[in-house]
Symmetry: C2
Subunit: 332 residues, 2 copies
């Protein structure tokens, strides 16, 4: 059987471009015992994947040139040589960007599409949802009445962070770019205040106006100058949750900015980086809680879905120019 | 009775100078009920006091112009109108830089000079010792076999941090300036490796050589470029304890440096600022443990003592050019 595959044909220097990717055809192997043939249904594109396109050591190994990109994929079982999975089952796994693939049945996990639509397992019930949950609850330690600022607020993680912070009784300020995002954060996700950094002349002042009592928790998805402005206004004992630095991912050189140690010291503040795999042994706790909030209508959820397998590179590149509202997904 | 007093006559701009201080004579009031007349014996000078000389809001209020500097002082009771203290008792408190002073007996705490010499209560059994203890134990969370780097290693806090880290079974690397300090850190305090930043051309490489397994804990007393070099080499899950930033205290403008968020994120690392008063309700735990280690000979202690009340400004200024080895104290 022939499958289409998207490979990394060259490493991006700075912003990724469509020319860094190629689509090729490959012949799939026969199914061995314990293996399944999968058809990709939903493909996740995430900012962290940019890091894997550099040939540098990190918490996750780099993509290889002329090898397929891989990431979170929801797939449907087409044929099975394994007892654990039947044709028609939906599964999730870290899988290559291919229209079809042959994998060991143990490399994927069956998902329950009665609890939530299959695509949700790439978003609110998947990595972004769990990232929001553990980052905010475990590192941020929100308390009733505290002020929480979220950057990248309209992204896959940001919209969940803001809503959980509201559930915890906090005042929530979202920073995002563009009128459409701002309107939705305010009207559909019920953020208390929103700041459109693309249409704000003085971001320091905008934050000050939105946070008259200072900032107790900053959930940072973006880094760069937006973060500088937020961190300048943290309270004593503030917690800064470092989740992403999308503003910096395409930098060639070491980015420079104001030194943060003096303010962290003066404010007895904490800054903690994390990746979601640190919490692997608590995923079921997170999924249970998020499912419950979803069922109770306490969490709203948004996806930006592009249609067509070939759109994957476009969708990925779109992350860095803010094309997504909520979780960005490609449906094959 | 006439006492001498040292006042802040003007606010330093950048490095403090002798001209920012004046010595004046004042008439002490009569003792009221509950008050004691004290004679200053040992005066502490500490880097954090530089911050109080600026007219800016911080965790502690600024010194006022033409008012006395105050800080940690060990004093002897000369006369008492309080039942809790007798002439001859030694006390410690946050007291003005005066040769003599009249204070409420409740504003000072009696110390036991049988456990340790009186001056130790300004150092290893006082703020610097407790800062080392809680910063390393509570924030650093040292584990056997980990690598700990301490900057400002020959300072009042640094020498204690290094020794506690050794007690905890860690490998300890100290960074300090000058041959004398380096020799003492190695020979008397038994640091595993020492780096003399004043005589090292490539600090990155020196750290790399000294820390072949990377850095698990960085106890930072200095900030600036030394810290940049250390932080570049932290391990996954590292803890950065922000205790001081003496390299930056005299800066006029916001200091600029490499952004740290990307590395903290990639390494799931923590950076936490603190001041010792955060641990006020655990001071007795710290003092008990430090006294025990002192008694058992597990902790060595060094003081740099200048003699003469009038030397206080000089001693304070000396902190910023590394004149002290261990705790800097003035004996009246």
């Amino acid at each position: 059987m022939i499958a289409k595959q998207i490979i990394l044909s060259s490493r991006p220097s700075g912003f990724p471009s469509i020319n860094n990717f190629s689509e090729i055809s490959i012949e799939l192997p026969q199914l061995l015992t314990g293996e399944v043939l999968l058809q990709g249904v939903f493909y996740s594109v995430d900012p962290y994947m940019r890091g894997r396109m550099n040939n540098t050591e990190s918490y996750i190994s780099p993509f290889e040139i002329n090898e397929p990109i891989s990431g979170g994929v929801v797939a449907k079982v087409v044929a099975s040589n394994a007892t654990s999975l039947l044709p028609g089952d939906f599964v999730i796994g870290m899988l290559p960007w291919q229209t079809h693939m042959v994998v060991d049945a143990n490399a994927v996990k069956k998902i329950d599409t009665h609890i939530a639509p299959a695509s949700y397992y790439l978003g609110i019930l998947g990595m972004p949802g769990l990232t929001a949950y553990f980052g905010l609850i475990d590192i941020g330690q929100p308390k009733v009445g505290e002020t929480v600022v979220v950057s990248g607020a309209a992204g896959a993680v940001g919209v969940v962070v803001g809503q959980i912070a509201k559930i915890m009784g906090c005042k929530v300020i979202g920073i995002a770019g563009g009128t459409e995002k701002i309107t939705i954060l305010k009207n559909e996700f019920h953020f208390d205040e929103v700041i459109d950094y693309k249409n704000t002349v003085n971001i320091n002042k905008a934050i000050q106006m939105a946070c008259p009592n200072g900032i107790d928790i900053y959930f940072d998805n973006v880094g760069g100058e937006i973060s500088d402005a937020v961190i300048r206004q943290i309270n004593y004992s503030a917690r800064i949750v470092l989740c992403g630095q999308i503003a910096l991912y395409n930098d060639h050189t070491t980015p420079i900015g104001p030194r943060l140690q003096p303010i962290l010291l003066t404010k007895s503040a904490l800054m903690q980086g994390f990746i979601i795999s640190n919490y692997a042994n608590r995923f079921s706790e997170g999924i249970t809680q998020l499912s419950e909030w979803l069922k109770d209508g306490k969490l709203q959820y948004k996806e930006t879905i592009l249609h067509g397998f070939h759109q994957l590179p476009e969708a990925f590149i779109g992350l860095f120019v803010g094309k997504n509202l909520g979780k960005m997904i490609v449906e094959a």
